[in-house]
Amino acid sequence: MSTAKSISGDFLLAVEGLTVSFDGFKAVDDLSFYLDPREIRVIIGPNGAGKTTVLDLICGKTKATTGSIKFAGKELTKLKEHQIVHSGVGRKFQTPSVFEDLTVFENLEVSYPQGHSVIGALAFKRDTAVIEAVEDVAKTIFLTDVLNEPAAMLSHGQKQWLEIGMLLIQKPALLMLDEPVAGMSVAERKKTAELLRVITKDHTVLVVEHDMQFVGDIADRVTVMHQGKVLSEGSIEHVKSDPKVIEVYLGH
C-alpha cells in the first residue's frame, strides 16, 4: 500500500497512522488501511482488538489522538459527527438503535437527508419525493408490509434492517455496520447477506463481524485486527491461512 496512491485519491477511505489512547491504553495503535470504492471490507479480530473503536473514530464518535482519516479526499478527524454524516458516512450500531415510538415510515422519513437544520425540520413537508424514497428503501430492506407499524413492534432482525435502511436513505458513499447479523436467525442472516450484496452495487461497506461464515459470504477483503493494530489483510482465504492470525484468533 503506497502512500502515493492515497494522495492520488483512488481510495474512498484512507486511514493512516490512526491512534487513540484512553488514559494511556492504546485501543487503536498506529492503524492504517485503505478502502477502494464499492468494496466490502470486513474487520475481524478477537474481543478488545479495537474493531468498534475504529468505526467510532471514523464516524467521529471518538476523537483520534493522532493520525488521519481521509474520506473522498476530505479529512474527517476535524469534523463533527453530523458533518461526517453529511459528507457521506453512515454508521449502524451494534445494538439496533431505531426510534421505537415512531413508525417504520417515520423512522425512514426522519433519516431522509433533508430538513436537517432546525429551520429545515420546522419547514419540512412530506412530499412525493420523500414518500417515494421511503417506499423504495422499505422494499430493499424487506419492510414494505410494516411501514405503518411502530418500530417497537418489529423483530430484532427487522430492527437491524430498519437501521440499515435509515442509513441507505441518506445515500451515503460509505456504510459502516457493526455486527449486522448478531442475534439473527439463519434465515435472517441469509437475507441480510443478500441485502448487503444489493447495497454494495453502489456503496462501499465496512463491516465489523464475528460470524466467519457470514464474513466468507460477503467480504471482498478482510482486515484482521489485534491489540489495536492490523495483524493481517487480504482475501478470506489469505487471512485464514496466515499463521499469525491462526495463532491469535482462529487457533483458539
Binding site: F22, D23, A27, T53, T62
Partner: protein, 308 residues
C-alpha cells in the same frame, strides 16, 4: 482589588481568610462526601441531602439537651454520642427512603431529583412544625471553646479545628471503606458493570440501599459537626445544597480525592474573595467561575477518560 494593601498585610489576610474558609471546607467535605457516594454509585441526586444533614444537627441539639438535663457530668463527651446517633438515625431514614422511593426511580435520574426535592419540602416543614422556625444552637463543651494562637493576627478556634478533624477522619474512613473493604469492592463492581456484578452474585439492590443509607448517615455526621460552628434552622440545609452539588460535580462525580480538592478550592476561593468583595459578590463570582470551568471540563476535575 488588592490595591492599598502591603504584601505582608495581604499574606495575613490570605492566611486569616484561609483559616476561616476551613470551616466552610469542613462542611462542604462532609456534605459532599455523602452526596458523592450516592451520586457516584447510583447517578442519583439527592436533593434532600441538606435536610438529612439538618436531621443530624437536630439530633445533636436534642442529645445536648438530654445530657444537660440528665447527665451534666458527662456533658464534655455528648458530642461523640450525638454524632453516632446522628449517623444511625439518618442512615435508617435513608434506607427507608431508598426502599419507599428511590429504588423505583433508578432508571429516571431526573425524576429522582424531583421526588427528593419533594421529600426535602416535607422534611423542612416537619422541622418547622416540631422545632419551630427559629434557629437553635447547642452549647459547646468547655474543651471546645477558645482558640489556638498561630501568629499575632491569626487565631485558630478550637471548634473549627475539631470539625475539620472530623471531616478529614470521615473522608479517610470513606476512602478505606470504598477502596480497602469487601463492601467497597462490591460497590465499585456495581458501578462499573451492574449486570455482571449481579451475575457473580452481588446483591446490587442491597448494595444500593446500603450506599444510600451510608450517604445519608454521613450527612448526619455533617449535621452533628455543623452544630459546632453554626446554629440550625429548618432551612439551613438548603443554603448549602447548590454549593455542595457544584463541589461534587466539579470534583468529578466518582472521585473521592476530586471531591476533597474541589471542596477545598471552592471554600478557599469564596472565603478569600469575601474579604475583598461583599459576601454576595464573592459567592456569585465563585459560582460563576465553577460554572465556567465546568463548561470547559464538564466531566469534572478528576474524572478519568474512559471508553464509552
Amino acid at each position: 482589588m488588592f490595591d492599598g494593601y502591603t504584601s505582608s498585610e495581604l499574606m495575613s489576610i490570605f492566611a486569616m481568610q484561609g483559616f476561616a474558609g476551613l470551616s466552610l471546607f469542613s462542611v462542604f467535605v462532609l456534605m459532599a462526601l455523602g452526596l458523592a457516594i450516592i451520586f457516584g454509585q447510583m447517578g442519583v441526586i439527592n436533593m434532600a441531602h441538606g435536610e438529612f444533614m439538618i436531621l443530624g444537627a437536630y439530633t445533636t441539639y436534642l442529645t445536648s439537651g438530654f445530657f444537660q438535663s440528665y447527665l451534666p457530668g458527662l456533658f464534655g463527651g455528648y458530642f461523640f454520642v450525638a454524632m453516632i446517633l446522628a449517623f444511625f438515625i439518618c442512615a435508617a431514614l435513608g434506607a427507608l427512603v431508598e426502599w419507599l422511593m428511590i429504588r423505583h426511580l433508578y432508571h429516571r435520574p431526573l425524576d429522582t431529583l424531583l421526588a427528593t426535592w419533594g421529600l426535602s419540602l416535607i422534611m423542612q416543614q416537619a422541622y418547622r412544625s416540631i422545632f419551630g422556625a427559629r434557629e437553635v444552637g447547642v452549647d459547646l463543651p468547655e474543651w471546645m471553646m477558645g482558640a489556638i494562637p498561630v501568629t499575632d493576627m491569626v487565631d485558630l478556634p478550637i471548634n473549627g479545628v475539631f470539625v475539620m478533624i472530623i471531616a478529614l477522619s470521615v473522608a479517610v474512613g470513606v476512602y478505606l471503606l470504598m477502596y480497602r473493604s469487601g463492601y467497597g469492592k462490591k460497590v465499585r463492581a456495581v458501578v462499573q458493570n451492574r449486570p455482571m456484578a449481579e451475575a457473580v452474585g452481588i446483591n446490587s439492590a442491597g448494595i444500593d440501599r446500603a450506599t444510600f443509607a451510608l450517604g445519608c448517615g454521613i450527612a448526619g455526621i455533617a449535621g452533628a459537626a455543623f452544630t459546632m460552628i453554626g446554629s440550625t434552622g429548618p432551612s439551613s440545609g438548603q443554603a448549602y445544597i447548590v454549593d455542595t452539588f457544584l463541589v461534587v460535580v466539579f470534583g468529578g462525580a466518582q472521585s473521592l480525592i476530586g471531591t476533597i480538592v474541589s471542596a477545598f478550592g471552592i471554600s478557599q476561593a469564596q472565603s478569600t474573595m469575601e474579604f475583598f468583595l461583599s459576601g454576595s459578590m464573592a459567592k456569585v463570582l465563585t459560582l460563576l467561575v465553577v460554572i465556567g470551568i465546568l463548561m470547559i471540563r464538564p466531566e469534572g476535575l478528576m474524572a478519568l477518560k474512559v471508553r464509552r
